[in-house]
Structures are given as C-alpha cells and as structure tokens.
Amino acid sequence: MVDGARNMQFTRRMMMQGGVALAALAILPRTLLAAAWPKETFAATTASQALKAALGTDVITPSDRIDLKVPEIAENGAVVPVSIKTSLENVESISIVVKNNPRPMAASFEIPPGTLPKIASRIKMGETSDVMAVIKTSNGVYSTASQVKVTIGGCGG
C-alpha cells in the first residue's frame, strides 16, 4: 500500500514538471518554433557533403521540370539573382548549391503545404561555377544546374 502511494507521488511530480515545460513552450512566439538552422550543411566544403548533410543523400535525379533562372554572366559576383520554380509535386524544400563556392550550400528554403514551390533570391559567387537548384519532394531529390560566369568574385576574401 505504501509503495503504491509513493509511486503516485512520483508520477504526479513528473506530470507537473512536464506540464510546466509544456506551458513554457506554449509561451514561445510561434515564429521561433522553426527547425534549427542547419549548421553542418552550411559548413560543408563540397557540394556532395552539403547535400548529404542537408538531404541525407548526394544521389540526385536530374529533372527538366525545374525552372532555374540565373544570368549567364554575372558582372558582380556579390549579387547574382537566382529564381527557381518547379512543376514537381509535393515539394518539401528547395536548395541553392554553388559548386565552386568555398561553402557550396548558399541557401535552403522549407516549403510547407500551401506554399508554392518557387523562390527568388540573390547570392554571392566567388568565381565562375555551376549553380544547382535542388528540389526535395516526397518522392525523392531532383535537380538542374546552369553555369554562371563570374567576372569579379563576390565573396570578398
């Protein structure tokens, strides 16, 4: 009988602590509950490492259903416009990978249901390089790439 009572107290304390923790989480502004910034992905020094860190694989299927717009020649490597859209379905994320940048993963975008699979941004490129648009869907990982010639590198190093 005594054991039973002690067990109940233990359980009640655990539930109260759990309850307080849950309440604290509820107070956090909704906007801050995004997935953590993918540090390893952005630290990777090769495209293959970056893709493995971001998506769990560097085995990617080329797709002609991805529309990647980048300039053929970028006069200023510090501001290279990139826009990506795709007709692939169930897109979960879009990533921009610049193969010859010191850290190839330039940016990645999480696409929740209801958001269109298209983005536009501006990136820095250190030198002439292929720029890859990598799309992760519920069916796999797809990509397309275009070369951008850079006359003045934009990494500033």
Partner: protein, 104 residues
C-alpha cells in the same frame, strides 16, 4: 528604431505574392577592412520565418553566401485580404527584427 524590413505582398485570387527586402550587411567573415587591415567578423542573417495569421508559410535558411541587403520572394495559397503576414529574421549574433503587414 526604424525597421530593417520592407515587404510587398500582392493578392491575386487566393495567392499572395510576397517580396521582401531586408537591410543587413551579410558579412561573410572573410572580408578585410581596407582601413584597418583586420578581418571583419561574420555577421549574417541565418533565418527568415514568414507566418500568415500565425501559420508558417516559409522558412528561409541563409548562409553567408546570400547577398548583402537580402532580397527574397515567394508565394503561398490560401491567402485573403485582411490576413496578417509577419516576417521575422534572426542573425548569427542573435540580432532580430520583425515586421507585420495586412494583406490587401
């Protein structure tokens, strides 16, 4: 303090077309200050979070390779006039800013 954020959000049927411009140096951490010869420490936005009426509609993860004063555009469905669109950004030094706008 003046906002670092400008947002333009245009509604066409139930699709909101969002364009944002944020004032931020996006220092890579490898640039050398021409006056002092010292390396300028990295100072860059890491994440942009967009919500519409509290529901996340986009999360953008940025490296130092996103250009200074980042421009970012995207679109989402299920939008209507009167919705509250909010953009929050955070950088690698913990600085943050946010801006709300109503969809029209």
């Amino acid at each position: 303090m003046a906002s670092t954020i400008k947002i333009s959000a245009k509604l066409a049927s139930d699709v909101a077309d969002v364009k944002s411009l944020i004032k931020h140096p996006m220092e890579t951490g490898s640039r050398i200050d021409p006056d002092t010869g010292n390396t300028i420490p990295s100072n860059h936005i890491t994440q942009l979070i967009f919500t519409n009426n509290g529901k996340q509609v986009m999360v953008a993860n940025f490296s130092t390779a996103v250009s200074r004063n980042p421009f970012f555009g995207f679109s989402f469905e299920g939008a209507k006039a009167g919705d509250t669109l909010r953009l929050t950004w955070v950088d690698n030094n913990g600085a943050t800013d946010e801006l709300e706008t109503q969809l029209v």
